[in-house]
């Protein structure tokens, strides 16, 4: 190493060889210390319950999206990675092959072998991925064109109309859930009486899958939006009561005791301690529950008169427009992520004392 012959201080070569041993030792000890000193502070990526630096978090968040996208691109654009199908170009002498038809690679090989054995003309084709996995650029294109394409039949909604309809159903269903569920959850978590009276039954209903009420709610509420809203309600309300009750119970008792020694009565304890005390946690719970509402939407929209984004997906899948299907699914994801980020940001405004808790 050249460095060994340089003075660590001046960086100049040593003329005096008797000095070089010292320099050697010095540079060696220097390099070992720099190696041995562990990186401290915000240096580590894997620290137990420590927040990452802002820059690192941003990198990771991008990576979280880039990695799956890269994988998808690789599978789509690098031919030998997957491409298990063959799209027939020229059917040759195979009876049932047609141009544009997709067949399994093994099947294609077998049929061609048969033709070769019998002196027929082998078919030609290109390797491709199955239709249900369109390439990213096609989905990206569909994401735009789906909004610009008029519906196939007159009177059917445009994509943005379907989407608007879905959002309205979710909003209404979740609103009803919240209006009833938040007070009930708070009461269950505060008063043992309400909890003992309400929670066993709620727990019982909770295990019944919400879609099971589909036919029933159509029979009762008709075929329009009402049964769909009802499904969202059933799907989220019962979970909400139990989740919020547990959250409410996690409020530290000493806070309640302190309030009592300051003269707070029962009503004041509820309104001035329990409610503000659990509000940030409640808000976080509601953000998670809102995600569940989207899950139930898919069922809700297929009962009665089909509508909304789920109907769009269902229909496009039937026409084998899988790029549209992916576009719609990604759209739901984007809407969900967008709402959650907005709600998270609002949470920081609503609950300034919760700053370092995400």
């Amino acid at each position: 190493m050249i460095v060994k012959h340089l003075s660590p201080v001046t960086g100049l070569p040593h003329a005096d060889p008797s000095n070089s041993a010292v320099t050697h030792a010095a540079s060696k000890s220097m390099s070992t210390t720099t190696q041995k000193t562990p990186r401290r502070g915000n240096g580590g990526w894997l620290q137990v319950r420590k927040p990452l630096s802002r820059k690192k978090s941003l990198w990771l968040a991008q990576g979280a999206f880039l990695l799956p996208l890269l994988l998808w691109c690789a599978i789509s654009y690098v031919p030998f990675l997957w491409h298990p199908m063959i799209t027939v170009q020229n059917p040759g002498s195979v009876d049932y092959f047609q141009p544009g038809m997709q067949v399994d690679r093994a099947e294609f090989k077998e049929q061609n072998q048969k033709q070769i054995d019998h002196g027929g003309l082998p078919a030609t084709g290109t390797r491709e991925n199955p239709v249900y996995l369109p390439a990213p650029h096609r989905v990206a294109k569909a994401l735009v064109t789906a909004f610009l394409t008029p519906p196939i039949r007159d009177g059917e909604p445009w994509l943005h109309e379907s989407l608007g309809h879905s959002i309205r159903i979710i909003f209404l269903g979740f609103l009803f859930s919240a209006v009833l569920g938040i007070p009930l959850g708070l009461l269950c978590g505060t008063f043992a009486l309400v909890s003992k009276l309400g929670e066993p039954f709620v727990d019982f209903v909770r295990y019944m899958p919400a879609p099971a009420f589909g036919a029933l709610s159509v029979a009762i509420l008709g075929i329009d939006d009402a049964p769909k809203v009802a499904i969202i309600f059933v799907g989220t309300f019962f979970q909400m009561v139990l989740v919020l009750a547990n959250t409410t119970r996690s409020l530290p008792i000493p806070l309640l005791e302190a309030a009592q020694t300051l003269g707070a009565g029962r009503r004041q304890l509820l309104m001035n301690v329990v409610v503000p005390g659990v509000l940030p946690m409640l808000y976080r719970d509601m953000r998670i529950l809102l995600g569940w509402a989207w899950t139930y939407l898919i069922v809700a929209e297929l009962i009665g008169a089909s509508s909304g984004i789920s109907f769009f997906i269902y229909q496009q899948a039937k026409y084998r427009n899988y790029d549209n299907v992916y576009a719609a699914i990604i759209l739901i994801g984007l809407i969900g992520l967008g709402t959650d980020l907005i709600l998270k940001g609002l949470g920081r405004v609503f609950f300034p004392w919760e700053k370092d808790k995400g």
Partner: protein, 300 residues
């Protein structure tokens, strides 16, 4: 109860101190604890957590309660605060029997119990607001108390932005804003470092000198108890009972320097004998400590 007020005969007292103790004894009784007993459900065939506890606290007195860990100090304090029901016996504050928590008994706990969603100022305003006081007047009140505990510049901070010592000062201000008859404190400085702790002790004494409030202070730190208290209630365990009530023959205002005074050391020695006896049965037959009379300066 009478014997509690008898001066321990192992110490000679200066006339000034004697006069002080006599004047305290002549004041009205703020807290009256009689035959207090505590058992927790399901522990019937074991000795009770607290046996038969009786004592009185006079107005503006500073009482420390000391005892080995687990002897029931916190339990007793919670009973006085009304947070824990009594198995038997009675607690009276200013003559009124205690049944449940109330604003006449302020409490400060070891763990931090400030409301994290309220700013420092609003935390202190909590009590007055609960009592139906208007926003403006409770705010003025809160600012005044925060000034007293030296936090006038942090009124708009949230509790999680404060140090441990600051949090406890806010907790004290919050309790005092209700003008309680008695302030019950359960190892409020237990989680603080030594430096902050002694700072807080001096600070508390200063507040106590300026405010008409009686303080019952639980601690397991002997020096803290002697530094703060007029009288020290020494609790023993199994069952929790009063071993002795010691009058602290150290002049006020107190200073750190007194920690080396013979009176201070004598009390400390006695407390050590009571709390950590070599032979638990020998407590009663301990030889009394004799010591020379020490000249004390007159009280200001």
């Amino acid at each position: 109860m009478e014997e509690a007020l008898v001066l321990p005969d192992y110490l000679d007292l200066s006339p000034e101190l004697r006069k002080r103790f006599e004047s305290i004894a002549a004041r009205e009784t703020i807290l009256e604890v009689s035959h207090l007993r505590k058992e927790f459900p399901g522990m019937e065939n074991r000795p009770p957590i607290l046996g038969d506890i009786s004592f009185e606290v006079k107005r503006r007195e500073f009482i420390c309660v000391i005892g080995a860990s687990g002897c029931g100090k916190s339990t007793m304090l919670r009973m006085l605060g009304g947070l824990e029901p009594c198995t038997a016996g009675e607690v009276r504050v200013s003559g009124k029997s205690v049944h449940g928590p109330g604003a006449d008994r302020g409490m400060v706990f070891q763990e931090y119990t400030l409301f994290p969603w309220l700013t420092v100022k609003k935390n202190v305003m909590f009590g007055p607001r609960m009592a139906g006081q208007g926003r403006d007047s409770s705010e003025a009140e809160a600012l005044q108390w925060l000034e007293m505990v030296g936090l006038a510049d942090r009124v708009d901070a949230y509790p999680n932005q404060l140090s441990g010592g600051m949090k406890q000062r806010v907790a004290i201000a919050r309790a005092l804003a209700n003008y309680p008859d008695i302030l019950l404190m359960d190892e409020p400085f237990g989680a603080l470092d030594a430096q902050t702790r002694s700072q807080m002790q001096r600070h508390l004494l200063q507040i106590w000198r300026n405010v008409d409030v009686t303080i019952l202070f639980v601690t397991h730190d002997l020096d803290e108890a002697i530094f703060l208290a007029d009288r020290i209630v020494v609790l023993g365990a199994h069952p929790g009972r009063i071993l002795e009530i010691i009058q602290v023959p150290v002049d006020r205002p107190r200073s750190q320097a007194q920690a080396l005074s013979p009176h201070f050391l004598a009390v400390k020695k006695r407390l050590e004998q009571l709390i950590h006896p070599e032979d638990p049965d020998a407590v009663k037959s301990l030889p009394m400590i004799r010591m020379a009379r020490v000249g004390t300066e007159a009280e200001p």
